[in-house]
């Protein structure tokens, strides 16, 4: 399948929906992708099943603070430069590229790299959403080593990594990103086509385009968009979409604790009646509670929509007084396996509760209403 410039606006907004508050604003990456596709023609998007088992694939994307990328702009040739450096480091040419998270700029950077090199992008990613740490990706969960990896900063400085565990890799790239201006581009998780088939969350790029199309065509009051969105998710590898809450942001505070953005949003109903919804943020929206009752939690998706336009809102753009609708979506089954929950359950983020699937929580939530 060819992915042309015309699909980029839908891909960007759909990817913000799936990013559950993280991932940052994709606008700069969107402009860069637009130019690269205009120059090199549409990107080739292939299904993971069409990849040879012995094909050589790696994940490409940006690592750092979304707010930094608002000022320290990506360069259009960065993905190509880091790709070439990676290939000369490992001594092998890549046959295809894959995204490490569908969300913000990271859903687009692989397209820039691939279109420039004339190799395909595999339709899918390593999260099916956005999550804050490298070891939370499906690739390492499936046992694929994170390195050898190469990182590039805005000025052309580069570093290579060889680490024993993904946890170590995460620690190293995080420190390097801080030292290199807050945002770096990496090529990592080199793997075979066969390994990717066993670990990818498939089809998330084309699914983002579909979500973006629905957001565009049904632009308007969030309640009206729930029907079409619910239908799209029902036909996907995600679980059910549920409306969690509608109201006004009455408080949003956040602070950096242990290198992460730890925050909390409180949303009250428009008329102030009934209990408020609290969303715990650790880079992404991770846990939604009404009083002490959890109504949705990671790894299920929690997304905040602008109530008037249904535009998904990133955590960094939450503001006092915004009118929003909060929706939850069951994560892909992969993340509900025991092996995945070892690294993405609420306790991995310091919350004192076990993971309960969204559909069971909302059943209870609805019965209380």
């Amino acid at each position: 399948m060819k992915l042309a410039v015309e699909s980029l606006p839908d891909l960007s907004s759909g990817a913000v929906f799936l990013a559950t508050g993280g991932g940052g604003d994709p606008y700069v990456a969107y402009l860069a992708t637009q130019k690269v596709l205009a120059e090199h023609g549409p990107a080739e998007l292939i299904a993971v099943d069409d990849l040879d088992d012995d094909a050589f694939v790696a994940a490409v994307g940006g690592v750092g603070a979304p707010t930094v990328s608002l000022e320290l702009l990506h360069s259009i040739d960065d993905p190509g430069i880091v790709l070439e450096a990676f290939e000369s480091h490992v001594g092998r040419k890549l046959d295809a590229i894959v995204s490490f998270e569908i969300g913000g700029g990271n859903s687009l950077i692989p397209l820039i790299a691939a279109a420039g090199r004339g190799i395909p992008v595999v339709d899918g990613d390593g999260m099916g959403r956005a999550l804050p740490e490298a070891q939370m990706m499906t690739y390492p969960i499936a046992g694929i080593p994170s390195t050898p990896a190469v990182a590039l900063d805005y000025a052309g400085n580069m570093a290579t990594f060889t680490t024993d565990t993904t946890a170590t890799y995460e620690r190293h790239i995080r420190n390097l990103a801080q030292a290199m201006g807050g945002m770096i581009t990496t090529v990592e998780h080199p793997m075979s086509g066969k390994q990717l088939k066993s670990s990818i969350v498939p089809g998330t790029i084309s699914f983002s385009i579909e979500i973006g199309r629905i957001l565009r065509e049904h632009r308007g009051n969030a309640h009206r968009i729930l029907g079409p969105l619910r239908k799209a998710f029902a036909d996907s590898l995600y679980g059910e979409l549920c409306h969690i809450y509608t109201g006004k942001v009455v408080d949003y505070s956040s602070a950096i604790i242990g290198g992460y953005d730890i925050g909390r949003a409180v949303i009250e109903s428009f008329d102030g009646s009934g209990p408020a919804l609290t969303i715990e943020v650790k880079n992404e929206f991770l846990l939604a509670k009404i009083e002490d009752r959890v109504v949705a939690s990671v790894p299920d998706l929690i997304t905040v929509l602008d109530y008037e336009t249904s535009t998904p809102i990133n955590a960094e753009r939450l503001r006092y007084g915004q009118r929003v609708s909060v929706v939850g979506v069951g994560c892909p089954d992969y993340y509900r396996s025991a092996r995945a929950l070892e690294v993405v359950a609420p306790r991995c983020f310091g919350f004192d509760c076990d993971f309960v699937p969204l559909e069971r929580l909302t059943e209870h939530h609805q019965s209380l209403i």
Partner: protein
Amino acid sequence: MLRIGIDVGGTHTDAVLLDGDEVVASTKSLTSRDVSSGILEALETILSGDSGVEKKVEAVMLGTTQFTNAVIERRELAEVAAIRIGLPSGRGIPPKTGWPGDIARCLGGNVYMLRGGYLYDGWLLAQLDDREIDTVIGDLKAKRVEAVAISSAFSPMNPEPERLLAERIRAVLPEIHITESHSIGRLGILERENAAMLNASLLGFAGRVVDSFVAAIRERGLNCRFFISQNDGTLMDAEFARRYPALTFASGPTNSLRGASKLTGLNDAIVVDIGGTTSDFGILQDGFPRESNIVIDVGGVRTNFRMPDILSIGLGGGSLVAADGASVGPRSVGHELVSKGLVFGGETLTATDIVVAAGHAEIGDPEKVRNLKPEVVAAAQGEISSMFNAGIEKMKPSSDPLPVVLVGGGAVLVTEKLAAASSMLLPEHSGVANAIGAAIAQIGGEAERMISYDKITRQDAISQVTGEATNVALTAGAEAASIRVADIEETSISYMPGNTVRVRVKVVGDIAGIGQTSGLEAKV
């Protein structure tokens, strides 16, 4: 205490004379080509009742859509050289990337990218290069460039590279118009740079327009203070407006919403401003316009101005009506209504003709629409109501009905209670709500800084930024005692050391010497 509010729109120039809370006089006249004679005419009308009254007027506040219209209609825009300091970041994404072709052409092709700027943590992104700067200045001189917009990475945190470059340019080209991006926008270099470019492009026009405003007011013997209203319903003085015309982009809808609040005493309502071509729906929250949550396009250019959330639909007094009455708008005869509409002896069936035919208004000659079929009139009336209902439903914050305030010259189009409204108000003076909104505007001040909460406490950080915002408001003419904090915003920078937080504070206050008044009594 007397004050005058003036609204200079694309078609009409409105003016009101307020004595405290009371509307003493109001008028609506046509905007003249030279702007100034239209204002003079309006002033003449509202000041005619009392000789020597101009000496008692303490302030004149003016709102205008001249600069928004210039951008939307692509006229009066000067060529702008865009200079971004930020290489080696952003290679391949120069200024103006993503702009619509027509406005990009208006601003010309002079785009420069220089090494320099800062990182989030205060480290140099790159060192400014003297030779690069000299080359750019030589080029500006050779091309006789009249306006320049300068942006630099993280300039809201550290504007030094922008200031330095502006000084170097002025030393060689003292007459050139310059807008430095840190003075007009917040974090988000592309949006801030776009805002700076639009602003720079309007500087020449702004000088001429503000001169004609001042000339008209002084010519009428008004030697009092003079302010121009901006996007968020606060005021700036004429000198500031000359330098920052882009800050007036949303003042039209803002003034109409604030005016509607004043006229009805309502703090929470839906306001529908009905003109000749469009109807604009906005929401009043606590007496102020609800701001949009999303990035704002001005004439197709992405900016990060804070602006009211407005829904515009193609329905107004001049909207064309299909022969069977089944559809109304979006095409309109606009200001030609007075010659093309049936009731004015023309040959085009318009929304105004429908209202007159239904017996709800006496405009022009009702005889001219006597022969319209009743079913056509009924169908068109039904369509008009359903368009208003749909607009209200779209904007309503919840399913609870809200009161709806109608303002603007086309308010006669609403002839029945709309199902989506809890009540309907058509206040007296609603035709000049914008001018009233301008007259009651406040002075605002905003400041923003990246601060490490490890270095100073959160409380100290907020009070430091509040102090800066207060200084901005004082400089702009606010009365110190009335200043209050309107908004505090803190944003953590993910992954960053030192607990770095972006703190932004907005304060508002009354114009020095003028107390805010309570709502005018609702006259419905």
